[in-house]
């Protein structure tokens, strides 16, 4: 039997599936679990890799080959939100998480794609520079936000099919966050630039917004008084954004060019905006 696209690497032909053992320590740092660092390893070799000083990967995970996947794909079966910092500083390949991810998913991501079948904890995409994160479930607080030691999201794309918690896009600098299920309170707080798209969000959106755009379908409740209403106008870039989201196969109601523009935060320079699609 010949496996396609596997000849060059000898016996290390497949991706890996790692399944978290129930007896693994509660709070685990998953920063080392990268497709590139495990690529080409046999399950036995991967199991001997250090996960943290003094802990081998095999102590916390059962490791299987994934013959259906190319060797730059890694699948983690995690169960609950125990594994923090999954995909940290990853720069290529595909990381698939079956189950939930913990805090700091995709922190400092530089490339590649992370797909989480479940939800994720706080600070997903903190400091993300490039690459794509897809979360099928809900995300915690500070989505794309500035975790300690990191700036907010700096590039790339962060797509959440479910809901996001409070302060999504906090201090975000560049890139795209889209949340199909809507965001919690303080969405876009202190955002420096970038784009956050959600059908709706909680109270006090955009507080301290310096530049950047929140694109919403419903006007958020308790809008800060430091936003002024610019009325309704046509914004071609929303059509451009709509095409991009479609290309990313991310489902949202269609974005019309027509939107109400709220400008602020006037306390923080007044160069940001909240666009309410459809006026």
């Amino acid at each position: 039997m010949a496996l396609p696209s596997s000849q060059s690497r000898g016996s290390s032909v497949s991706g890996l599936i790692l399944t978290l053992k129930p007896q693994a320590p509660e709070a685990l740092d998953g920063a080392g679990l990268l497709p590139a660092s495990l690529a080409g390893l046999s399950p036995a070799e991967a199991a001997r890799r250090p996960l943290a000083p003094g802990i081998e990967l095999g102590e916390c995970f059962t490791v299987q080959a994934d013959p259906a996947a190319p060797d730059h794909r890694l699948t983690l079966r995690t169960g609950a939100r125990r594994l923090a910092r999954l995909g940290c500083a990853m720069d290529g390949g595909t990381l698939r998480v079956v189950g939930d991810a913990g805090d700091l998913l995709g922190q400092d991501l530089r490339g590649g794609e992370i797909v989480v079948e479940g939800g994720c904890g706080a600070y997903a995409g903190a400091g993300q520079r490039a690459g794509l994160i897809r979360v099928r479930g809900d995300a915690g607080d500070f989505l794309g936000g500035a975790a300690d030691g990191y700036e907010g999201m700096r590039g790339g794309v962060l797509l959440v099919q479910g809901r996001a918690g409070a302060r999504a896009g906090w201090r975000m600098r560049r890139g795209l966050i889209a949340v199909a299920g809507g965001c919690g309170d303080w969405c876009g707080a202190e955002m420096l630039a970038g784009t956050l798209v959600a059908p709706r969000c909680g109270a006090r959106a955009g507080l301290g917004l310096r530049r950047g755009s929140l694109v919403l379908w419903e006007c958020p409740p308790e809008l800060p008084a430091t936003f002024n209403d610019a009325g309704v106008a046509e914004f071609v870039w929303l059509a451009r954004l709509d095409r991009w989201l479609a290309a990313l196969e991310f489902r949202l109601p269609p974005l019309t060019q027509r939107a109400r523009r709220l400008v602020g935060d006037q306390g923080a320079g007044g160069k940001g905006e909240i666009l309410i699609v459809g006026g």
């Binding site: 590039g155 071609v236 870039w237 451009r240 095409r243």
Partner: protein, 306 residues
């Protein structure tokens, strides 16, 4: 000169001598195709020859809404100039005067390349501090507030190496037969991608030679050897039956594009055939001394008589 014959049309075994140019492609979208065309007509106006216009430009193709970056109808423009700097200057002027001003348009770079020239990078200052940058799908866009809403323009575009000066000469019995052949040739060439024919209707009647005999300061003057009315006055290249000569001039992004456009045009001319009044097809060159690219007609002949 060896000759090939197709459908009664003699084809000289010569070549069109073409030059290296710099080019870019812009995608112009609008709420309605007529506004995209209005913008394109202005932006590509007075852009027949780099000699007097600074650049050569034309509509390359009409774009289906599904194929544009913002899902709106649009057109693709190609602009050619003699250098990167000249191209940048022309792009800025034409976009600033003709696209920024035109209702509903947006402008995107339509070509990839390492060498970037500004597109909206300087025009953004029209926004007087109110312009906003957006990075969408890896592209930096500028949103410039205008009275109608916002003018959306990409930050930069690529200046790619390209080819100008491809040409065909149609030698026909009458002006009518020459025009009909030329029109069908232009229509055939414009159906493809990657090339434009920058002259009015794609056709030029004032073919030129380098310099002038009478006026030393002139850079170019009429191609007397191909002017039927001068057969008695100069060393004419025309046989007595030729009553009219028209030239097609092509600019293309690549050699393949150039060949494709010229091949389509030649095929259309040959399809008119001797019966349609076309006698001969030739091409202009300078003996191969000036241009880097030689497009031999023998390489683009129709397979056989159509």
């Amino acid at each position: 000169m060896a000759e090939y014959v197709r459908n009664g049309v003699r084809i000289d075994d010569t070549f069109a001598e073409a030059f290296g140019m710099r080019a870019t492609r812009l995608l112009v979208t609008a709420d309605h195709p007529r506004w995209a065309h209005a913008a394109a007509a202005s932006a590509c106006g007075f852009a027949t020859s780099v000699i007097g216009c600074g650049c050569e430009a034309g509509v390359e193709a009409e774009l289906d809404p599904a194929a544009t970056p913002d899902g709106r109808p649009g057109v693709a423009l190609l602009l050619f100039a003699v250098s990167r700097e000249a191209l940048a200057e022309q792009v800025e002027r034409r976009v600033g005067q003709c696209l920024l001003t035109c209702p509903t348009t947006a402008v995107y770079a339509g070509i990839e390349g390492e060498d970037r020239i500004p597109l909206g990078r300087r025009l953004r200052y029209f926004g007087d501090g109110h312009q906003r940058s957006k990075v969408v799908d890896g592209r930096r866009l500028w949103r410039i507030p205008v009275m109608e809403g916002e003018f959306l323009i990409e930050d930069d575009t690529a200046a790619v190496r390209a080819i100008g000066g491809g040409n065909l000469l149609i030698l026909a019995r009458t002006r009518e037969s020459a025009l009909l052949a030329a029109e069908s040739a232009v229509a055939a060439a414009r159906a493809g991608r990657g090339a434009i024919l920058p002259f009015p209707g794609g056709v030029v009647r004032s073919g030129s030679k380098v310099g002038a005999r009478r006026y030393p300061k002139l850079g170019a003057s009429t191609n007397d050897a191909f002017c039927p009315s001068l057969r008695g006055s100069t060393d004419s290249a025309l046989e007595p039956q030729v009553g009219c000569v028209l030239e097609l001039v092509f600019d293309a992004l690549t050699e393949a594009d150039m060949q494709g456009a010229m091949r389509a045009a030649l095929a259309a001319i040959c399809a008119r055939g001797g019966a349609g009044g076309v006698l001969r097809v030739s091409a202009g060159n300078y003996g191969g001394k000036l241009g880097k690219y030689h497009f031999h007609l023998r390489d683009i002949l129709p397979e056989q008589d159509p």
